[in-house]
């Protein structure tokens, strides 16, 4: 069965320091992978997506993620956190690749300290 695991439910970083949000997936197929962000009382917004092209994917607001098949991981990173990055982040897998059925992780709440 396909699944996605977000390894941390909460992450706290200081403003200006790097961000790492971890995600592992389980799949028998080649997946499509996404990161979505959800700010309080706002809709989910796509940050970036991997669909079997380049393994290093750049998204909006300085975020990027690297697909590592050998580790079944798709961790989200940002070199320098900003206060506005504080939100809930969801790792999402679509299996088989390109289909509509999105499976969401349980989310990681990012807190950015001044």
């Amino acid at each position: 069965a396909q699944s996605v695991t977000q390894l941390d439910s909460h992450v706290s970083v200081s403003e200006g320091t790097p961000v790492l949000l971890r995600c592992n997936y389980s799949s028998s197929y080649s997946p499509s992978l996404f990161w979505y962000v959800q700010h309080p009382n706002k809709g989910l917004q796509l940050l970036l997506k991997y669909t079997s092209a380049a393994t290093l994917v750049k998204g909006i607001n300085g975020f990027e993620a690297e697909f590592k098949k050998s580790e079944t991981s798709f961790h989200l990173t940002k070199p320098s956190a900003h206060m506005s990055d504080a939100a809930e982040y969801f790792c999402v897998v679509s299996l088989p690749s390109g289909t509509y059925k999105y499976i969401f992780g349980t989310g990681t709440r990012l807190k950015v300290l001044a």
């Binding site: 979505y36 009382n41 706002k42 809709g43 989910l44 917004q45 796509l46 997506k49 969801f90 390109g98 289909t99 509509y100 059925k101 999105y102 499976i103 969401f104 992780g105 349980t106 989310g107």
Partner: protein, 113 residues
């Protein structure tokens, strides 16, 4: 252009009542999805429409839940005989194609007392 619009944004009802939640997708998007997000969880798939038809309703939890999209645009999620466990945020998303990026609405928060 407008994004995905969901109404009401908040709904409080009593156990056993009937509820309708509406989703107005982005114009021209043929694919429409409903998800349910319980507290502390990620969104869970409920149903997917391609045009007017429900292509996949395998995520609907039981027969109290039903959704329609009669003209291939606006969709309504209907919940009969609501239970406290139905309390959640119901999210609607649309996309231009079935494999395209999903655009989400802000959700309808349902509270069943």
């Amino acid at each position: 252009g407008a994004g995905v619009s969901q109404t009401p944004s908040n709904k409080v009802t009593e156990k056993g009542k009937y509820v309708e939640l509406r989703c107005d997708p982005i114009s021209g998007h043929t694919a429409l999805y409903w998800y349910r997000q319980s507290l502390g969880q990620g969104p869970e798939f409920l149903i997917y429409f391609q045009g007017t038809g429900a292509a996949d309703d395998s995520g609907l939890p039981n027969d109290r839940f039903f959704a329609v999209r009669p003209e291939g645009s606006v969709s309504t999620l209907k919940i009969q005989r609501t239970e406290r466990g139905d309390s959640a945020v119901y999210l609607c998303a649309s996309s231009y194609t079935s494999t395209g990026e999903l655009f989400f609405g802000e959700g309808s928060r349902l509270t069943v007392l």
